[in-house]
Symmetry: C2
Subunit: 166 residues, 2 copies
């Protein structure tokens, strides 16, 4: 009888482990998006020509021309560094989304990092289910022509994280 009980318990444990293992596989299979590489690091600057010259003339990196992005309220300059970019940002217009940051950081500084995702719709749905908040309800077309959305910095330990579908 004691042996029967032990056998029953072993069977129960074995079944539970199988079910738990199966559950993990199902959850992993259900996640319909993946995070990829760092697309860029954005640095806000009050003087984009001066900062572009630092990366081009002093550090010797490949630096793009300055591009106005009126839909995003910024000028951009891209610094190519291997597989990742630095995106220099300077305010364009009265309602630039980086003006407040530059008011607090007069010399400029690191503004956000952008992580690539393979499916932004699935990422948003999954992250909302994990109680993550976003700075907008829906993704928008970003400076590179791809869908982007910002996570709330309060949910990312003080760092502004942008997701970009690539």
């Amino acid at each position: 009888m004691a042996l029967n009980k032990l056998h029953g318990l072993t069977y129960l444990c074995s079944s539970l482990m199988k079910n738990t293992s199966g559950l993990h596989t199902s959850v992993a299979a259900l996640q319909k998006w993946k995070v990829g590489k760092i697309n860029h690091i954005a640095i806000a600057t009050p003087d984009i020509e001066k900062t572009a010259a630092l990366y081009r003339d002093v550090l010797g990196a490949k630096v793009s021309d300055k591009h106005p992005q009126p839909d995003h309220g910024v000028y951009t300059v891209f610094v190519e560094l291997g597989d990742t970019k630095i995106e220099l940002l300077n305010p364009l217009g009265d309602k630039s989304p980086i003006q407040n940051f530059l008011n607090k950081n007069k010399n400029g500084g690191m503004h956000h990092i952008c992580l690539e995702v393979d499916n932004i719709k699935e990422a948003i749905e999954d992250l909302k289910a994990k109680n993550m908040r976003f700075l907008s309800d829906e993704p928008v077309i970003g400076a590179h022509g791809n869908l982007v959305i910002f996570l709330h910095p309060k949910d990312c330990n003080g760092t502004m994280v942008e997701l970009e579908e690539v």
Copy 2:
């Protein structure tokens, strides 16, 4: 006579242009170092387990264990994102170099970016000649076992830039 003077002037201009062009070529050939990719972005955090869980469990990235780096006064966790890493930093000991940053940024935030160079000694010599300042006189062995040195953030438009010889 007027024609002779014009000819002489043309010859002088031509010689000057040739010399200037030669000088540019020589300067480029003399630069004995190159900047490479972004090695990592460092994020300082008051709660490294919580921030590691964000990147591992919420965003689904590959995240290392926590490593103490007593020589550098920090704990580190590495988040692998393509060809680049996020380096999470948390103070270790009383004289941690990131404590002052965390006192000013209670929730944590982006602390520095690290750019790879192929020859740190030549980079330092060249950058000093370009009036760039460093946070130490000499490079030291960093958390990855390579020589590193920090540029002064006041010379990098508000961003702390680390150079690492790779």
